[in-house]
């Protein structure tokens, strides 16, 4: 894709950002809001990470050492909720805010004021959620999946606040995705047809549709919980004619597309980075688009593979097993295309590329353990063990989170105008890479050996691997504080980045100045 850009520097036409704190509260600029989202998600990542450290510290040795079991359950619940809704999702929305307008040659997002609103309600949602820690009865303690009746009949009183905060998060995501879709559908530069869009834009278009389809279902599920708790209905209460299994169906009807919401944008990011550092055009662009579309569509018909052991008839177990395995096909196409892009490329391994390569290898590994879990008869052994914990952390940490880190290293020169310190970046990569594998790989073993998940104490035979896992977790945790240092150092200063930044980078965002001016593409570029 080549682009002819006329660089307009008419500062007298454009006002810059407002001064002081007001800039951040009132801003409708997509770059400012992107920055807010990214910093917010970093803060949540560190808070959720601190909770993970508490969990791992408690599991360092068998027996109860540090926290009470009740508090442990609250940590498990909040860690999951905060990492998903506060860490990964806002980070991707932040990247979409920064990059989608620049990639399609639009001056801003389509609905800038709604954009401001959808960010600024998020801190309140998490304030409400975190404040439940200090309420009587403690924070929600039923796991991030909040299965009824644990989350209704037997839930702590703070559950109502949890429901409220999930509603706010959902509203924020829905507004964000409407904004992304309207921007992409209506504001592309002339000449940029759908099949010419950068893959990150494609991945976000599909993600936004998934969000619009399932976030309202999540809102419905928590509304039913609210009514069961306070208004005497019996959606999930068998004594009143309801069914707790219904909760699991509704939850996973939301939950499975949700896990693809957390990985599709990563596919987009990694495609750009591998293409750049292989100095080749991406292999199989259109098959990448079709693969993402098929993954998105299939995500709606596989939900019950999370509940094989709930007592489904054979026909349903077979259907959900096969439909789940079918997803390996488009995913395999994507992995093949990434490798084919690297094949015979002149590859260099700067930090973003290191993270992207680790993504391909480790995400595939997580995908394989997913395939193992999809085998219904085997799942009865793996269900609710640490094997599941290892599986979804492999696809979410070296999957989603590595892709976010890769994206930060890749685009931060464009955002700040400064190059990050390559030496420190590589050090951060290797610490994270070793940390993540030492943490989560042994969990496969203890899971297969039968250690259940969500327990504060465990049988003695699991002690050694748990100790290894905890050591890895602290290595990984502290390397993210190091990441914070690298990001701050880059924002404060560093080697001036060129406009092109990376030799092999393609796309409209590299045609603007570094750092990207406050307003870009006020006049749409021409794409040929």
């Amino acid at each position: 894709m080549s682009a002819v850009i006329e660089n307009h520097h008419n500062e007298h036409d454009h006002h810059g950002p407002a001064k002081g704190l007001k800039r951040w509260f009132y801003t409708t600029n997509h770059k400012d809001i992107g920055t807010l989202y990214l910093w917010f998600s970093f803060a949540m990542f560190l808070i959720g990470g601190a909770m993970a450290m508490i969990i791992r510290a408690e599991l360092f040795q068998p027996g109860m050492q540090i926290v009470e079991p009740e508090f442990y359950n609250q940590m498990i619940t909040l860690h999951g909720l905060i990492m998903i809704f506060g860490g990964v999702m806002p980070a991707f929305v932040g990247l979409a805010n920064w990059l989608v307008p620049m990639m399609i040659g639009a001056p801003d997002m389509a609905l800038p004021r709604m954009n401001n609103l959808s960010f600024w309600i998020l801190p309140f949602a998490f304030f409400v959620l975190l404040s439940s820690l200090f309420m009587e009865g403690g924070a929600p303690n039923f796991g991030w999946t909040f299965y009824a009746p644990l989350s209704t009949t037997y839930a702590p009183p703070s559950t109502t606040f949890f429901i409220f905060s999930v509603h706010i998060m959902g509203a924020s995501s829905i507004m964000g995705s409407i904004n992304v879709i309207v921007t992409i559908m209506n504001m592309r530069a002339p000449g940029m047809g759908l099949m010419k869009m950068p893959l990150f834009v494609w991945s976000w278009l599909i993600t936004a549709y998934l969000l619009i389809a399932v976030m309202p279902v999540l809102a419905g599920a928590v509304t039913m919980m609210l009514m069961d708790i306070h208004f005497g209905t019996s959606f999930f209460n068998a004594a009143g004619g309801g069914d707790p299994v219904l909760f699991q169906h509704i939850f996973w009807f939301f939950g499975h597309p949700e896990v693809y919401i957390m990985i599709l944008p990563a596919f987009g990011i990694v495609s750009h980075i591998i293409e750049t550092f292989s100095r080749k055009q991406l292999f199989g662009y259109s098959s990448m688009v079709w693969a993402m579309l098929s993954i998105a569509i299939l995500s709606f018909v596989v939900w019950a593979h999370h509940m094989f052991t709930v007592g489904m008839p054979l026909a349903a177990e077979l259907f959900f097993m096969w439909s789940t395995m079918l997803i390996a096909v488009p995913t395999g196409v994507k992995v093949f295309n990434w490798i084919a892009t690297m094949f015979k490329g002149s590859i260099t391994f700067e930090t973003p590329m290191l993270f992207a390569c680790a993504f391909v290898v480790l995400f595939t590994l997580g995908g394989f353990s997913g395939l193992m879990l999809a085998i219904t008869p085997a799942d009865f052994q793996y269900h609710d063990t640490y094997f599941v914990v290892a599986h979804f952390h492999y696809v979410l940490v070296p999957g989603a989170i590595f892709s976010i880190m890769a994206a930060v290293y890749y685009w931060i020169p464009k955002w700040t105008g400064n190059m990050y310190d390559e030496r420190l970046g590589r050090l951060h990569f290797w610490l994270s890479f070793i940390g993540v594998n030492v943490t989560f790989f042994p969990q496969h073993f203890i899971g297969l050996a039968g250690m259940p998940r969500r327990v504060p104490d465990y049988a003695l035979q699991f002690a050694d691997w748990n100790m290894v896992s905890t050591a890895g977790a602290f290595l990984f945790g502290f390397s993210q504080v190091f990441f914070l240092f690298i990001v701050i150092k880059t924002v404060m200063g560093g080697k001036q980045a060129t406009d092109q930044v990376w030799e092999g980078a393609r796309g409209l965002e590299w045609t603007v100045d570094s750092p990207a001016p406050y307003h870009t593409f006020s006049i749409p570029p021409k794409v040929s």
């Binding site: 389509a110 609905l111 009587e136 009865g137 209704t152 009949t153 037997y154 009183p157 829905i174 995705s177 409407i178 879709i181 309207v182 559908m185 209506n186 619009i212 389809a213 399932v214 976030m215 309202p216 279902v217 809102a219 419905g220 599920a221 039913m224 069961d228 005497g232 959606f235 209460n237 068998a238 004594a239 009143g240 004619g241 069914d243 299994v245 219904l246 169906h249 509704i250 009807f253 489904m312 008839p313 349903a316």
Partner: protein
Amino acid sequence: MGSRKKTILKLSGAVAAMYLFSFLLVPLYDVFCDITGLNGKVTQTTNAESSISIEGREIGLQFISHNNAGMPWTFKPSKEVTKIKTGTMYEATFYAKNTTNEMMVGRAVNSVAPTNAKDYIKKIECFCFAEGIELMPGEEILLPIKMVVDNELPSNIKNIVLSYTIFDSNLEKKIIMDHDGDHAGS
């Protein structure tokens, strides 16, 4: 600008539709389970007489009972294991006693194993169809079941298990009251 508004409206419509759909899942789930027999619940039939015909083969019938967590009643089948003939009317009873000092409302939920036997069990009467079984303190009751197993029952099914779980209909209220009690105490 016009097309932008149209996109926004369409997407907002989709959000509203999906929210409604999540509530629609509740009746859909019941209908789906009813058609496919997935959750193994037997519903009341009116045409059970048509299944009463010539005496068929002998099958094993087992009744099992469960008390849901926190349900203090005594609840058990009068006869646990029996042999019946398909195509003939069978009557059974469950014994229930409210062992507490207050009036309570219970509700029984039924389930069948194997699930594909579900379509061949015609229940004319069952206490599990009632929305609530009211018992005074210490009151005992014999709860009736009247059923026919159709002659068409697949020949590989030799035994049928009918399971009944009794729930305390007021459990929710009680837990909330317990919470309030805790507050008053502390």
